[in-house]
Symmetry: C2
């Protein structure tokens, strides 16, 4: 019997691209890949932009310097995009999909921005659009949401989907160091960029939330339009409060169903109870925690970044797309539920941890407490630490509306006796 | 456009079956299921054996008392088997597959015993055989191994795949209680059977290892022929030693590649380092930890048993089988790698924790230590606790051949000064 051949072109040969080339050209894997894909996967071209760089491991005859031409080559069945970028990359993938090629990408920014539209182009042209590598690196969460959980009613997805911030927070927690010190360490180790904004301010996590939400709930991908707080204001005091009270601080990307047709998407640090599975996700690992109405809690944990794990996730997509190509199939199209509406953060309820620096004199606590009371925010616990003629106040609240917390903090900032609002971090319930 | 209809029959309406019926008849889910399955899934029959039992939630007109007839009904596209049993059930599923119906089962004993043969019957007849519910309840590990990880070279799979034993060991660990006390509690809570043998002696876990191994490596399913140790001899002393030394004791089901074509499959308790992701899997939760050559470590965690989570896993299979049915496809057939050979446990290396009760007199430690030395077993640490004129010795060893450990224990048992060999538990490396 002749084994069918599926021809693959790769755009981009950075860490992930080079690792994927290595996997596809590894002779010891050929038989296993044929079994898995029902076809021989043949790498026919690798498009790169820098013509001067040496490319060990990539045969010269495969190299091309024209990504557009690769996307349009009619003999390429699967176009794998690992170059990154949004504006310049989107038209390439559209061109590939329009001629009926399947597209595999690990480009979270592009998917978050234009994934809904690209999926429609794929569907209209009988092609697959796969993007396992775009969220949480090697963790196969995308296909699980599309297949195994397709019949499940999902209530909430909470992810530790940014390895850089999880590394920083884990290190702050284990060593008691402050944010700036650990950020500098992470930069020295190559785990954080020189300009760490995308990671530490939660932009990267927000793109991944957008993608996870589309799969869990059928929301249209929202690009950057997700409520977002980063970790730059987390202090060693916050971390130590968390430890003393049975919590650990994690940056969470969350998408959840609120009521019948409401959805909340957000990224923020949270105090996670130590007994929660997400609390034991340390270092640069990623994890995605899913709560289903029937299936209960499920968690996936693995390496969220890195050339090899991400290439392995992309290879899973290549195998699936090749299998579909041979059988003339596509996966179920992406569906958008247009009845869903976004719930603003202000309407959500949470318990909060809040710190204030105040002048230490009689009556201060009463004025502070009365402002909480005016906004219907009920205090669960209070700690006071004296520092000279200042006091550091730490509150935890019962469940409160976020808009009430915002109003409380605004009023507190107006009080003469309040020198500074410190931190305001949500507490995740032990049941959640 | 007419929505195609896929007709489902269920054999068995215990916890899982009744929960599945509820999901399939839930009107609020119909649209989502049609989207996911590309078809309307119609439940047409539920076969039960006990004619006297009331079946709330199952419409009388769907009830049948003839499982064989249901399996053979030519208008049923998908036969879902949730009745359990091996000898009486296997022919039913073969009959369904032979007429081209797809079969979905959560029957781990049957799959472990006859899964390889059933998969061959399915393939020969153009039908699917799915069994997500057979391993680790709601955790979608089977489909992940068949799809997302199909291109990955897996090195090892380690699972906490029995909730009863994990509940018992977690409770022994958190409360310091002994095995018999916690077993009685688990029985009172309905978490352990009156005769707990299948769980506590590792038979249940062994069946799951057999299934996981077939998916990870292509081994033929081995039925009960897997090296197996249970948890009945774990003492409160062992649990306390583990805690003092940064470990927690878990019952692990393991399948791993040894060298080029060797496979080891086994079930035994192990001391797991607290930093390992499996160490934080508490209570009745299940988890499967996979180490891939490229993708690195991955872990799935979730509810390993219970009617609703298992029914949710089965529903995922029903959706996938329905989708294939509509498109005239089957999933990639199960492949068996006949070049693999099983490595006997004696040839494996591990570090060990070993306890002995000895008579407390001068020279005893020297005789004991010399027996370790005679068998090339190098001692890493020793603790001695005096109890009257006895001493309780606790050793940990460096990596040693299991056959050397066995020989050591045999010789130690012959020593006059040794009253009893206590425990012998493998240590999992911090890197593993």
């Amino acid at each position: 019997m002749n084994t069918p051949v599926v021809r693959v072109g790769i755009i981009g040969a950075g860490n992930v691209g080079a690792a994927l080339v290595g996997l596809l050209l590894d002779n010891s894997r050929v038989d296993a890949l044929i079994d898995a894909a029902g076809s021989r996967i043949e790498l026919v071209a690798v498009a790169v932009s820098d013509t001067t760089k040496s490319r060990p491991g990539i045969p010269t005859e495969l190299l091309s310097y024209d990504a557009r031409a690769l996307a349009e080559r009619s003999d390429i069945d699967l176009v794998v995009e690992l170059a990154g970028g949004v504006e310049q990359t989107r038209p390439l993938l559209e061109a590939a999909l329009r001629r009926g090629a399947s597209v595999i990408t690990a480009n979270k920014a592009l998917m978050a921005e234009a994934g809904t539209e690209l999926a429609a182009v794929a569907h209209a042209n009988g092609a697959d659009l796969f993007y396992e590598g775009a969220v949480a690196g090697g963790i196969p969460i995308i296909r699980a949401l599309r297949t195994s959980l397709a019949g499940e009613r999902i209530d909430r997805v909470m992810g530790i989907v940014n390895g850089t911030t999880n590394f920083i927070l884990s290190k702050m927690s284990s060593e008691g160091s402050d944010y700036d010190t650990v950020l500098a360490e992470a930069q020295a180790l190559g785990l954080a960029e020189k300009d760490p904004t995308a990671d530490v301010e939660g932009f990267d996590a927000a793109a991944k939330v957008s993608i996870l939400s589309s799969l869990a709930f059928g929301t249209a991908m929202a690009g950057g339009a997700i409520a977002r707080e980063g970790i730059t204001k987390i202090s060693a005091l916050d971390v130590s409060f968390a430890a003393r009270n049975g919590y650990i601080i994690k940056l969470l990307g969350i998408t959840e169903r609120i009521g019948h047709s409401g959805i909340s998407q957000r990224v923020h640090p949270a105090m996670v109870p130590l007994g929660h599975p997400l609390a034991s996700v340390h270092g640069a690992l990623n994890a995605v925690f899913v709560e289903g109405a029937t299936i209960g809690p499920l968690m996936w944990l693995g390496q969220g970044a890195g050339g090899a794990p991400t290439a392995a996730a992309v290879l899973g997509d290549v195998v699936a797309a090749a299998r579909n190509r041979v059988s003339g199939q596509c996966d179920v199209p992406f569906s958008v539920d247009t009845l869903l509406h976004m719930i603003p953060s202000g309407e959500l309820q949470s318990a909060f941890y809040i710190t204030l620096d105040v002048i230490d004199r009689p009556g201060v606590l009463a004025s502070v407490a009365s402002i909480f009371g005016e906004h219907d925010v009920s205090i669960e616990s209070m700690e006071q630490a004296r520092l000279g003629d200042e006091a550091h106040l730490t509150f935890t609240t019962h469940l409160a509306l976020e808009s009430d917390i915002t109003a409380t903090l605004e009023d507190l900032a107006q009080l003469d006796v309040v020198d500074a609002i410190g931190s305001c971090i949500r507490l995740i319930g032990a049941d959640a």
